[in-house]
């Protein structure tokens, strides 16, 4: 038994049709990990020591236990204590929280890389804590780690097949159903592999480009956008900080 082109072409649309579901779940989980990751970062730096300690071990625990088992826990076990989620939400939250622990490490590395002098200057300028965080520290801490953050979008994307274990109809689940119905697994599973390559390879190249760009300075950003900054132009400044 070898590769059957006819069969492959026939089933391709069925498998590929899961693409919007996969993209939706990936971005949903990514959003959760970006925001929850930032919250974890703050909690870990809390001056209230028990909270910082608890957060540290929460991160270690979630990071070193399998997302598949966490998924079962969220989907099957949480209803026992009154938290019932549908399979999509369970999938998004599980993956999102799992990778939030990685993302929080990324934020931390970015924050640690901001020179101490920036904190001191903010103090000398008499900024509030919130102003210091959101206008001075984070705008410097996050741009250099954007490629690393982008990388986790890809990692998340590649992790979505585990959701088949709770019956989410992503690529692999579709392929598995087709395979079982036809007793032919080679074509459907190969197609899933190709879809992953097709979607993740260009994104990886994009992230690589981002990485090279993020090594350039702030003024390079401004030039690339061809902005002319006049006065304390809030908009223009926001753009350059976000770029």
């Amino acid at each position: 038994m070898t590769w059957d082109w006819q069969f492959a072409i026939e089933i391709f649309p069925d498998i590929a049709s899961a693409i919007w579901l996969v993209i939706g779940v990936t971005f949903g989980a990514y959003l959760v990990s970006l925001t929850f990751g930032l919250i974890l970062t703050f909690l870990r730096r809390s001056s209230f020591k028990p909270l910082a300690f608890l957060t540290y071990w929460f991160i270690e625990f979630v990071r070193s236990t399998p997302p598949l088992v966490q998924l079962f826990f969220v989907y099957f076990a949480l209803p026992a204590i009154g938290i019932t989620l549908n399979k999509y939400l369970a999938g998004i939250l599980t993956l999102g929280i799992h990778y939030a622990t990685y993302v929080s490490e990324v934020y931390r590395s970015g924050i640690d890389a901001v020179p101490k002098g920036q904190w001191e200057a903010s103090r000398a300028m008499n900024f509030t804590k919130i102003h210091t965080w959101f206008r001075v520290i984070l705008p410097q801490a996050i741009p250099p780690v954007i490629p690393m953050l982008g990388n986790y979008l890809l990692v998340l994307f590649k992790e979505t097949p585990i959701l088949m274990a709770i019956g989410v109809g992503e690529f692999l689940q579709e392929a598995q159903l087709i395979g079982a119905a036809n007793f032919r697994y080679l074509e459907p599973i190969t197609i899933v592999g190709l879809l992953f390559l097709l979607l993740s390879y260009p994104s990886a190249i994009l992230i690589n480009k981002l990485e090279k760009r993020s090594k350039l300075g702030y003024s390079a950003n401004k030039k690339q956008k061809g902005m002319s900054v006049v006065g304390t132009d809030g908009e223009a400044v926001k753009q350059s900080a976000g770029g």
Binding site: S64, L68, F73, P161, Y185
Partner: protein, 218 residues
Amino acid sequence: MDTYKEIIPLILPGLTITLKVLVASVALAISVAFVAGLARLSRFALVRKITAVYVELFRGTSLLVQLFWIFFALPAFGIQFSPFLASVVALGLNYGAYGSEVVRSAILAIPNGQTEASIALNMTRWQRMRLVILPQALRIMLPGFGNNAIELLKGTSLVSLITLTDLTYKGLIIQNNNLSYTFPVFVVLLLFYFIIALPLIFGVRKLEKNASRGVAKA
């Protein structure tokens, strides 16, 4: 508490399988990582290219898809692995690909002066690698390997989806047989995985501290 006492002995046989899969795949992954990592730095463009394709193939797709492909699709070519062997091959090749990047970047992190000095001492290529570069690069690699081992441990839970009776599979069976166990079963499972991971976590932390010792600075 009694429920937990009942569950643990039921789950223990799964632990043996999980540990067996873990040890065998880590061994395979490390071997693959070194071979592929060195091959990516080979003098021969063809060797570099072929290795790069392997690495990108395995890093660009999902571990679960690879596992399914090896278990369900390979038989189409007359290669039928047992669930255990399929698991070890998939985990070993997947994390071998990630590990090869650890090997490669660690070797590249050794300052050029070290190579130049060994050339000045008239060492052969292999001597340079074996006596000067690798011993230093190894320290840099170790934390990376440790982190990959934790990732691999997490990956072993996927083998339950191809019917290998590991921890996760055992847990699912117990849960299926007695739905009132649902909550404690998954708590026990998570704790088991965490306990296996703990020595790795502490090991990595220690290795990270030692990583920079005895390595030439640029």
